[in-house]
């Protein structure tokens, strides 16, 4: 932990994400506009002191939509990664610790799942869900991205279980469950955290891509992706509509990537 907060890469990522999360969570204190309040008299205004980032085609304040939309994007990323890490750690540690037939079954299943282009799989599930709500999108992204944490933790455990402290714990008569939960998983945690932050970056990108294609978060609820979709529909007017949401996505993903890289570096020290 000490290493981590001295690592400049981690720190810069941490501050970016902290800032974005802070302004999104405290959105009502930063802007007084309602993100969904339509005011056609003020449609497509360029940035000014009244509307800091301008307004969209329906006269909604862009800053308000960005801040409230950020809540959606961050929440989707966070929950989706939570689901994928939970499934991945469970399956991966079972496969790695028990080995044999169980390992064979789980590993082959991972191989099969990895054959599907993940965006194809996600889109198929979105199509099946008919009217994808926020929760369904979180679940879909989570259920299609657990394979890499699973593989990672399996490999970690395979190497950890040869180590003396695990052999010692087992020979002391501790139950296997306890050894996995108390001794192995905490030691495999670092690489999993790296993987989790990097996959949260990917999850934010996937959510905004889906919303940009009109298949994710549905209007009037704002998300960075669907604001960009609106910008695409009035291409050529209102540059602020296509620049600011993109910047928000870019900095969020960059921040998460930096955090992941920072943790990776400090693990190797």
């Amino acid at each position: 932990m000490k290493h981590l907060f001295r690592n400049p890469i981690f720190l810069s990522g941490f501050f970016i994400i902290f800032f974005i999360a802070f302004v999104c969570v405290f959105a009502p204190f930063i802007t007084s506009y309602n993100p969904n309040a339509i005011n056609l008299k003020e449609a497509l205004l360029s940035p000014s002191s009244r509307h800091l980032l301008g307004t969209d085609t329906l006269g909604r304040d862009l800053l308000a939509r960005l801040l409230y939309g950020g809540r959606v994007s961050l929440a989707v990323g966070f929950v989706a990664v939570g689901i994928s890490v939970l499934i991945g750690v469970a399956l991966g540690s079972i496969a790695g610790f028990y080995g044999g037939v169980i390992d064979e079954i789980i590993s082959r299943f991972i191989d099969i799942m990895l054959c599907f282009p993940s965006f194809f799989l996600i889109l198929s599930l979105v199509a099946l869900a008919r009217h994808p709500s926020l929760y369904i999108i979180m679940a879909i992204i989570g259920f299609t991205s657990w394979m890499s944490p699973a593989r990672l933790i399996r490999a970690e455990i395979l190497s950890l279980r040869q180590r003396n402290f695990v052999i010692a714990a087992l020979s002391c008569g501790l139950s296997q469950r306890r050894v996995i939960m108390r001794h192995i998983i905490p030691n495999a945690w670092g690489p999993v955290m790296v993987n989790a932050t990097l996959s949260m970056a990917v999850a934010v990108l996937i959510e905004s891509s889906l919303s940009f294609l009109g298949l994710g978060v549905q209007p009037p609820q704002a998300s960075w992706g669907n604001i960009l979709l609106e910008a695409k529909e009035c291409l050529g007017v209102g540059w602020w509509m296509s620049v600011f949401p993109g910047l928000a996505i870019f900095f969020t993903v960059l921040g998460l990537n930096l955090i992941g890289e920072g943790i990776r570096e400090s693990l190797h020290k």
Binding site: P117, A127, L128, K232, G236, V243, N257
Partner: protein
């Protein structure tokens, strides 16, 4: 070598069965019927619904349905599209070439740029140049490809009107001369290829850098230096050859990512490729088409993996011999 390929083929048959099973379950175990909106459509009579159920075999047990479906898809028969009644495989077939063409070109460009970037980064690790490349890599990683597409469209296509906004060819394409046609196609494909290249470039150049660095710090390079080989030979003959092996693999493994990316940029630029077909299928809830594309996408991924493996085995004698000994 033969044994190696046979062993791989066994594995592939197993994976193909798995792919078919997962695709089947995804469609059939989800809420809602594979018939899609028809079930809830009040304009469709009960008899028609019953008939459709019978045609698609939805009244049979699930295992039977799967086996029937499997029997059809090994002949690439995915049924007909719900949208226009055309055979799914025909619809896919006419869309594959464009997607493959764009992706192969961008893979080629990626390779061309990532290799020198990675090598420079590894050689001058920690220098200003390396840092600049690293920053570029992080920016590239984090840049949403659809945003890049949107910005390029807005500036280059709408504002300055240097390139067309979208589509594959201009309206008066049939009247152009041969050279005019090529030029028109190129103008339409410049932005899509740039966008699809940009997304993957960062990751792969980072990868080349890591591999090159590992190769450069291994003992045989120290030996080569000690016996006085010129730097150029050390670099090209010894380090690069070893660093290239994992790079071959990563190119093969990048197929699923590229296919997923195709959905995004083909949709944005209205290009009639496989990715846009998938998007259209999803929008129309055209389940036979979605299922067909899901299976074809997985098969293409598998093919990429296989090519990577064979390329690796051809390039690395250690793997070849190991496989022969077994």
């Amino acid at each position: 070598m033969l044994r190696f390929i046979i062993r791989r083929l066994f594995n592939i048959v197993f994976l193909l069965v798995g792919i078919s099973l997962v695709s089947f379950l995804v469609i059939h175990l989800s809420p809602g019927s594979p018939l899609g909106g028809v079930v809830f459509n009040p304009k469709v009579s009960l008899e028609v619904k019953a008939k459709l159920t019978k045609i698609y075999g939805l009244d049979k047990p699930l295992i039977q349905q799967y086996l029937d479906w499997l029997r059809r898809i090994v002949r690439f028969d995915f049924g007909v599209s719900l949208l226009d009644g055309r055979r799914v495989i025909d619809k896919i077939k006419e869309r594959i070439p464009l997607t493959l063409f764009i992706n192969l070109i961008s893979l080629f460009i990626i390779f061309l740029i990532a290799l020198p970037l990675g090598i420079i980064g590894a050689l001058k690790k920690g220098s200003g140049l390396d840092r600049a490349i690293t920053v570029f890599v992080f920016v590239g990683f984090s840049f949403p490809s659809f945003w890049l597409a949107l910005l390029l469209m807005q500036t280059l296509a709408v504002h300055w009107q240097i390139v067309p906004v979208s589509g594959l060819v201009s309206v008066d394409f049939p009247y152009y001369s041969w050279a005019g046609k090529v030029w028109d196609l190129a103008r339409h494909l410049v932005l899509p290829i740039f966008v699809s290249t940009f997304g993957a470039l960062a990751g792969i150049s980072r990868y080349v850098r890591e591999e090159m660095h590992t190769a450069l710090s291994s003992k045989f390079i120290i030996l080569a230096r000690a016996k006085g080989l010129p730097q150029r030979l050390i670099l090209l003959r010894h380090a690069l050859r070893n660093a290239l092996l994992p790079v071959i693999t990563i190119l093969g493994l990048s197929v699923p990512g590229l296919l997923g990316g195709s959905v995004i940029f083909e949709t944005i630029f209205s290009l009639p490729g496989m990715g846009r077909l998938f998007y259209e299928g999803v929008m129309a809830r055209d389940y036979p088409l979605i299922m067909g594309l899901l299976v074809i996408g997985a098969v293409l991924t598998l093919l990429g993996n296989l090519l990577a493996d064979i390329g690796y085995a051809l390039a690395d004698p250690r793997i070849r011999y190991e496989a022969e000994e077994k």
